[in-house]
């Protein structure tokens, strides 16, 4: 299984990353090499093997439904590239 330039371009779009043609060319070549290397995982016998997505059993950490201290709107907006009032300002979403 290998990766084409078209696939890289589409995946970059899904990942919301703009690539110029030179970057797309270079990246496609590099990803092809990396995937070639990774493809040797195909040799491993994984029959009846369970996947490990987390090394420790993880559970949702719950607490009582009591209001606690949380981040103020001011603090949440402190780093915003563009803000107005209590809002993060972004380009128009709906035409």
């Amino acid at each position: 299984m290998t990766i084409t330039k078209e696939t890289v371009s589409y995946v970059a779009h899904l990942a919301r990353i703009q690539l110029n043609p030179r970057e797309l060319e270079k990246l496609s070549g590099q990803l092809k090499d990396i995937l070639d290397f990774i493809n040797k995982l195909g040799k491993v016998d994984i029959k009846n093997v369970n996947p490990t997505s987390h090394i420790l059993p993880i559970n949702n950490v719950l607490r009582d439904d009591q209001p606690q201290e949380s981040l103020s709107a001011d603090k949440a907006l402190e780093n915003a590239p563009h803000q107005e009032g209590n809002f993060f300002v972004v380009p128009k979403i709906i035409e």
Partner: protein, 495 residues
């Protein structure tokens, strides 16, 4: 009287001096800052240091504001000692940018739990952060937005990565000690390249709350120090259950310094055959074998074992870690913090794409796209799911060996520090430099790298010790025994 500079001492030595009132925290900080101003133009271990007019500029310390919590009788455990922090650990009100353009100017609204714990122990937090590969993506610190750090042992060489700044600062006595993070070797490999001690704790031992995430099932914060005792001391403070980190483990934290000095006679050490094959530089192999012989001299028994799935570790890692990274880095989109593209007349999606296209460096883009691909429809089973299954097999290899052995010993890296620029054009070559460190992250086990010698060209070589989950005490015990019977930890680079 021979006056050793305060910045050249270990934290435990400085604590001794503070206790005897032979120095003050102000004096220690002042000498450290002086050293940083003198050396950092060459080493570049720190970022965003204001070097203008020889003034301290931004280089100062935050301190706990008065109230100090008593924790298990350990009051002011680290009082007065400055700690250097990697740029991906959040410090409230002080820039934390992961050495990336996309997070420029970011001042976190909260402290990471490890920072809170350090402050509670009275430590001083240096507000200039140490250099790193952007978002921890790298093994050389060459992927930093601020340029590479230079290895104090040879300024033409990389310090390793991604915690290269932290390791270099400690090696150059520009830091007393430091925190780094390790996802695939990012504490241990730079520690080995810089001749210092670096520990990746068991997954879940140290809180990840406030560590800007790379791969959530692999990341851990850990200490980078001049010697093993300092490493144990710092672990005493940062290791803890944290309800704010849902992957944090609720297990009592021992006093890690208690096992230092214990006899290692009869300790069963496993040497995995798969770590000593082609690709391992001959000099490194020889130095590591000498180290193993030293351990035998000190009473440990060793035997060759097999970890048969070793060769798949790098492949597994670069699927799982990049998949997790693609998810974790989705939040950097120019909306809430950091850099936003100022191209005119952008739609929202164009703003996202331009921000991320301009704001991320090449390696970040490479990993995010690879990760997105591995998770995408049609490829998920062949790549991501398969990698998760091979991960199980890698973990089982370790479980099997730990049934019979106390620990596993390997070289930390197949080579010593390479030259700046040597591997940067070949990502795959760069990825393979993590070959010995990656498995410990996949299996969640603790691992330490300690200096074990120098190559003929004067570059440090690191010895890696791995143990069962939550068995850091054993790592410290063995590492200390080796360290105290060898001269490496007192050797310093000539800068």
């Amino acid at each position: 009287m021979n006056k050793v500079n305060l910045n050249e001492l270990t934290a435990h030595e400085l604590l001794g001096k503070l206790k005897k009132e032979q120095t003050t925290s102000e004096e220690i900080l002042s000498i450290l800052v002086k050293r940083i101003k003198e050396m950092d133009p060459k080493v570049k271990a720190y970022v965003r240091v204001d070097k203008s007019n020889g003034q301290t500029g931004h280089l100062s310390c935050q301190q706990a504001g008065g109230r100090q919590e008593l924790a298990k009788g350990q009051t002011n455990l680290l009082k007065g000692i400055p700690v250097s922090i990697k740029d991906n650990i959040c410090t409230e009100g002080y820039n934390t940018e992961c050495c990336s353009k996309i997070l420029e100017g970011f001042k976190p609204p909260y402290d990471a739990t490890v920072i809170k714990k350090l402050k509670e122990a009275g430590a001083l937090i240096l507000d200039s952060k140490t250099n790193m590969d952007e978002f921890a993506f790298g093994s050389s610190t060459e992927n930093s937005f601020f340029g590479p750090t230079h290895n104090p042992w040879n300024l033409d060489c990389v310090p390793g990565g991604s915690s290269g700044g932290s390791a270099a600062a400690v090696a150059a006595d520009e830091a007393i000690w430091a925190l780094g993070s390790d996802t695939g070797g990012s504490i241990r490999q730079p520690a080995s390249f810089c001749g210092v001690v670096g520990l990746k704790p068991t997954y879940g031992r140290v809180s990840r709350y406030g560590l800007i995430a790379f791969a959530s099932s692999l990341d851990q914060i850990g200490p980078i120090t001049k010697d093993v005792r300092d490493n144990a001391l710092l672990m005493n403070v940062i290791a803890a259950y944290d309800p704010k980190d849902s992957t944090s483990v609720d297990l009592k934290v021992p006093d890690y310094t208690k096992s230092l000095g214990n006899d290692i006679k009869g300790m069963k050490v496993a040497i995995p055959a798969e770590y000593f094959i082609e690709g391992l530089e001959a000099e490194v192999k020889h130095i590591v074998e000498e180290a193993v012989n030293k351990l035998k001299e000190l009473g440990a028994d060793y035997k060759r074992v097999s970890l048969p799935h070793t060769e798949y570790a790098v492949g597994v890692y670069y699927i799982i870690a990049t998949a997790e990274a693609s998810s974790n880095l989705a939040r950097f989109d120019g909306v809430q913090y950091g850099f936003r593209s100022k191209k005119p007349k952008q739609s929202l999606i164009e703003m996202y794409k331009n921000t991320r296209g301009d704001g991320f460096g090449d390696e970040a883009k490479r990993r995010i796209i690879l990760g997105t691909f591995a998770l995408s429809h049609g490829y998920y089973d062949a790549y991501y799911l398969r990698a998760l299954k091979v991960r199980t097999l890698i973990k089982q290899d370790f479980d099997r060996v730990f049934k019979e052995f106390d620990c596993i010993i390997t070289p930390t890296s197949p080579t010593p520090a390479f030259k700046i620029g040597e591997k940067i054009e070949d990502p795959l070559k760069m990825y393979l430099s993590d070959i010995y460190t990656i498995s410990a992250n996949l299996a969640g086990i603790p691992a330490i790298s300690i200096p074990c010698g120098f190559t003929k060209r004067g570059l440090p070589v690191g010895l890696q010790i791995l143990a069962k989950p939550f068995n850091e005490e054993l790592l410290f015990q063995l590492a200390y025994a080796y360290e105290q019977n060898t001269p490496w930890h007192t050797t310093k680079p000539k800068l």
